[in-house]
Amino acid sequence: MLDLTPDEWNAVHLSIKVGLCAMAASLPFGIGIALLLARGNFWGKSLLNGVVHLPLVLPPVVTGYLLLLSFGRRGPIGSLLDQYFGIVFSFRWTGAALACAIMGFPLMVRAIRLSIEAVDRRLESAAGTLGASPLWVFATVTLPLILPGVVAGMILSFAKAMGEFGATITFVSNIPGETQTLPSAIYTFTQVPGGDAGAMRLTLISIAISMIALVVSEIFARRIGQRVDAG
């Protein structure tokens, strides 16, 4: 059953790598933006909210094309990154990670924002009276209390990355070993005669990975939830 060709193994490996990187890289931004949206009171807040949610409503191909325009080698951001930091996104696995991060970002921000809004702010002022500076209050009170939401956001982001297809293929194409993630590989199989068996193998693996991610997140969330609720 698991007689995968090297290319197929590559696709599995790459998908997980892209998913984890997308999740990890967007986490600090996700928490930051969620904090801004939940607590901030500034001009342009609804605009920011709209921009964050845009990938959710735009066709993924459009998001991918916009990424290509801005982060491509000749794009305004892409050329800057290339020139000053030597970071290239286009047609690299990092580009796939960027596309996945952007696509999963609204889901992550939503989950974290909801948990921040549920935090009892009176606990934070209590921590303040006990001598904790705002940064310490965040680290010792807010963060532990929003942990379930953060975990949920991370899992959503990872799951979105595992399934992301349109934006990725538009932005970084479908290069085996470099940008061919699981969905792209399955898609490729369906386009060639006799690819059914390969598509089925990868589909099953895809299902397995998603299930494992869900179960792990469930266990995590329950543990943290118990700790916080019981407390």
Binding site: T129, A132, S133, V141, G231
Partner: protein, 370 residues
């Protein structure tokens, strides 16, 4: 020494208060909505006042004229909230140690073991706050504030959300806090029973304005300062000494400047100090020493002050050899007896009018006439 002089506007509500207090426990007293809680929030630094100045022991926390404002986490002011606000994700022990961690080593004076023992929370240390009763939560919250070694302890109606049984469970701990620690306490309350029992000084607030401030005894006998629903609880608060016990009849004899008072037997040694609240409505007036009366406490005194409450009632302040008693009687009795300032009268108080507000070993005992 606490000095407060602030002006703050909250919507249509105008808060203006200026007072100072050197008392061990200063009660901010007044009906809900009178601005008490806003004042301690301002002292704690949770609210920034529009203008004014707050100084604790020579250290300026707020001075809007100088544009100085010490942020809440640098004030070293302990805060016990009405809702205990324990951190749900931490054990009781971690909750208690939370503030200690932020206090510089040299300024830590509160000892963990002593505070835990004083509040009787040793058996709770491993638990989660969600599994505590309301009274236990509040005791842990007090311990948590104390262990941060604050220079001033603020308490915002710490008993208001508890039932009577829990209240009397915590009361002795508050008294120990006042008597055994050196930190000054500012205590917000709308309950006369609490204030009369705990406060050394009282600041009365009405409608965002300061109505009066002074030592407990002086403020408590001014019934006009009390909100209508609490007037029945008002009266004289006197500090007395145990002179002896009458075992045969189950009574204790207390000494005051006004004379001896017989109250139900209390478990306090000879010479112990007892604070007694005598409600004004429990004090009858006789123009001559009554005979054939069941009441045991008959104290001679002189009418020092008369204030008309409304059409039907009159308040009298009686000077009984230096101790002031307050009596509320009907206007009809007042007229029939031809009472006037300077007239010698007798105050009559039933022994059974006193009730043990609480009886807990080691804690100073307070009797309330109710």
């Amino acid at each position: 020494m606490l000095f407060v002089d602030i002006h703050h506007r909250l919507g249509a509500f105008d808060l203006e208060a200026s007072f100072q207090s050197a008392g061990r426990l200063t009660a901010l007293f007044g009906p809900s909505g009178s601005g008490k809680t806003s004042i301690i929030n301002i002292i704690a630094g949770l609210i920034r006042p529009d203008s004014g100045r707050i100084v604790i022991d020579g250290k300026t926390l707020v001075d809007t004229a100088q544009r100085s404002f010490v942020p809440v986490h640098r004030r070293q002011v302990g805060f016990v909230f009405q809702d205990a606000r324990l951190f749900p994700h931490l054990s009781v022990r971690s909750n208690l140690l939370y503030g200690r961690w932020f206090t510089p080593q040299a300024e830590r004076y509160a000892e963990f073991g002593r505070v835990v023992e004083m509040l009787g929370i040793g058996h709770l240390l491993a638990r989660r706050p969600a599994l505590l009763s309301g009274g236990e939560k509040q005791r842990v919250a007090i311990g948590r504030a104390l262990l941060a070694s604050p220079k001033l302890l603020l308490m915002d109606e710490p008993l208001a959300s508890l039932d009577d049984a829990r209240k009397s469970e915590i009361m002795p701990y508050l008294e120990r806090l006042r008597d055994e620690t050196k930190i000054p306490i500012v205590y917000v309350s709308h309950s006369i029973a609490e204030v009369a029992r705990l406060a050394t000084d009282i600041v009365v607030m009405t409608n965002g304005k300061l109505a009066a401030s002074g030592p407990t005894g002086e403020i408590m006998r001014r019934l006009d300062l009390l909100p209508p629903e609490e007037v029945g609880e008002g009266g004289a608060v006197l500090d007395m000494k145990v002179l002896g016990h009458d075992e045969a009849f189950g009574m204790t004899v207390l000494g005051t400047r006004a004379g001896e008072m017989r109250v139900p037997r209390i478990d306090r040694p000879l010479g112990a100090a007892v604070r007694v609240r005598i409600r004004a409505r429990d004090v009858m007036i006789g123009t001559e020493r009554p005979k054939g009366l069941s009441a045991l406490n008959i104290l001679p005194g002189r009418i020092a002050e008369i204030s008309q409450v409304d059409g039907s009632q009159v308040d009298l302040k009686l000077d009984c050899h230096g101790d002031i008693l307050v009596s509320r009687i009907t206007r009809q009795s007042f007229q029939t007896l031809h009472l006037a300032i300077g007239r010698e009268v007798f105050a009559v108080i039933k022994t059974v009018a006193f009730d043990r507000a609480n009886l807990s070993p080691g804690a100073p005992l307070v009797l309330t006439s109710d």
